[in-house]
Assembly symmetry: C4
Homo-oligomer: 239 residues x 4
Amino acid sequence: MSDVFIGQLKEAVYLANRKLVESGLVVLTWGNASAVNRERGIVAIKPSGVAYDKLQPEDIVLVSLETGEPLPGERLRPSSDTPTHVCLYQRFPTVGGIAHTHSRHATSWAQACREIPCYGTTHADSFYGPVPLCRPLTTAEIEEAYEWNTGVVIAEHFHSNNLDPLHLPGVLLSYHAPFAWGATVAKAVENAVIMEEVAGLALRTEALNPNATTTPQAILDKHFLRKHGEDAYYGQPKT
Amino acid sequence: MSDVFIGQLKEAVYLANRKLVESGLVVLTWGNASAVNRERGIVAIKPSGVAYDKLQPEDIVLVSLETGEPLPGERLRPSSDTPTHVCLYQRFPTVGGIAHTHSRHATSWAQACREIPCYGTTHADSFYGPVPLCRPLTTAEIEEAYEWNTGVVIAEHFHSNNLDPLHLPGVLLSYHAPFAWGATVAKAVENAVIMEEVAGLALRTEALNPNATTTPQAILDKHFLRKHGEDAYYGQPKT
Amino acid sequence: MSDVFIGQLKEAVYLANRKLVESGLVVLTWGNASAVNRERGIVAIKPSGVAYDKLQPEDIVLVSLETGEPLPGERLRPSSDTPTHVCLYQRFPTVGGIAHTHSRHATSWAQACREIPCYGTTHADSFYGPVPLCRPLTTAEIEEAYEWNTGVVIAEHFHSNNLDPLHLPGVLLSYHAPFAWGATVAKAVENAVIMEEVAGLALRTEALNPNATTTPQAILDKHFLRKHGEDAYYGQPKT
Amino acid sequence: MSDVFIGQLKEAVYLANRKLVESGLVVLTWGNASAVNRERGIVAIKPSGVAYDKLQPEDIVLVSLETGEPLPGERLRPSSDTPTHVCLYQRFPTVGGIAHTHSRHATSWAQACREIPCYGTTHADSFYGPVPLCRPLTTAEIEEAYEWNTGVVIAEHFHSNNLDPLHLPGVLLSYHAPFAWGATVAKAVENAVIMEEVAGLALRTEALNPNATTTPQAILDKHFLRKHGEDAYYGQPKT
């Protein structure tokens, strides 16, 4: 499968992976980004353990959205986190791209096993409430299918708490690190950058004021809704 | 309106916006700088939501100092924060340029809802007292005209506390982020850089000494006044 | 001794030393990396006090694995830490390369005289438990042979606690700084990078949650063992 | 005065000032470096308020070691801190160069009005004890001759505490920032870098362990003396 469309998909995923590194979110090989094409049932994802400075667009691996298995003819192994990505694409139908990193501040919140409170408008512009924290997997879940069940735990957290993945485009995994997503893979990377920034801001906010309070609802509504939904007026009009 | 003067104004605002990024104060599109020409009644400001690496001098948007509306013929929307800038230019007649960022340390103080105490000469060289914190807007103010009322709240804080905007060339907005200004847009950007630096110094000062005391008045006077006013002797003589 | 093999050994050690600087782990001349060739009984190490930007592959110094003395004909002094490296190569037969730095976060833990708890998977991917802390040397040990005894104290800590140096590829020295190692010198540098990252993550984790708990054993096992040992499935298959 | 010697002196001071910026110690124009030639009684120093990216070797200003006044023919004003530098050269006869910055961590300790405890070997390698803190100037001292009296206060602190300026090559000024020095201006800049590094390490050490203890005397002696004095064995032999 090497038509123009596939080339564009691989290119977008390649660029997103490069952007993760250029944004300072990824050290060594600790991160991966993917995109889905739902019409064709294909997920494109970074290969496992390949150094970013050697990564080429053609190295991006195609896997089945249905089974998670590499398509026939793929020569590299996909990221070891591929089952998590595939699970999330299956359960979050509005999501078009996913980015996973171990970025410094967001990972610190994940290790502290705390959600990130919404302390200001930088956060409210993109996350309509606290950045959620998922429970750790049980030993049985880890042993059965660690990476797949990571996706299951995320999806169940969103579904049982009635959260919209595009209103809260990211999550923290206890003792682990963040996942971010969006309508496209470029947006997923942008949301990974935003999570890292608001994670740092929130850490320093608490250092300056242990009794810091979260953003009043009216400001949260104003900032999220001026950028999202029908009445958005931020940015240039869509043409 | 495309004469030489307008070209220079746009160029100055363009360079100021670039400088915000190069100084590390702005991530993604989180910032904007503007300049005013009071003779012509024009404010020049960054367009809304345009990526910095694609920004060109001709993209800078001209709006009326009186109404805040784009001048006839402008093809891009101005920054969504334009009403704040216009309000401040109307109420602070000595201000020639304004810069808004979500820079990391200053935004953390804003989110902590604390003014920045003057802990040393780095601060005193440019801010003649603590960096002020404004109250959050009420729900009514937010719903009526969020961005314009942000400017109103800043101006009222300065007027009711009898503060000179060129002696305290910046402010923190509760749950939001800093605004800085100056006699020119280049000076506004410089003051945004200074706020970020002193915000970081003050955070670490308190970490090292929870009982840190503010700069004695004699040192504050010496440092501010050797750089500002009639008896200034820092820098090269004005020619 | 200037055959092809020696050239490759010096080149690998040269590149590892450059990588320490490029990774931001080394300021001024505060660091050194070495490699051993056990067949020939040679250790190759950075010269003492030479500025990194002037370092050339041919400046790398060869010393005897048995005596620690420079081989005949060497024109530069080896790193003052050479006896520590030689001692570790003698006592840790699976180690092929060693890197010493004063990297910012890892050194802070060393100065705080604390081991680094395993707070998450970033840590567990490479260190199978807390990063150990060695006791300070006694005055007698310092006066007798400071650098050699530093190696002795490290080795004794690992042996008496029954620790495998490739499962815990680094250590903190009380009041001093980290040493890292690995099967190759490139791996030693990578482990030095990882120690610095997990040191920063752990510091921030405790700032966010003073009662943070360490990674559950099942997650620790999963992450370490998916990258190491017989059942590893991270990365591309070895060919 | 434009002979070869003067050109070399200006070049050395120019390079030292550039190095301050490249090392990340200086933001905007917040720093200056100088060198003295005692035979000719000349101090060469950065001009006041000149942007670093426009600074040229010929802009470096020559002033008298005896009076602090610019030599005849100098066209730029010297740094406003010139009297501090001149005072220190007069009172510390072994010092050949001085660097002043507002570097982030060292300035935070100065603002916290605390000396920097010696928590490890990174510190002990260059500072033989805590980095001293000077008392703030009195109002009378500030009004009489602020910059000159800053030098007086530093010198008196060293003399009354019997401290050797080359064993403790830097100081913190309360509510202000660090000064560093050395036998040459290059060494002064290096000591400014070291102060900033150890200031950051010490801040994080206390965050990790509020009861952190200072380096045992035997380790302090070992590290300082293997780099300084008759029995030094770090680096390459002087030829």
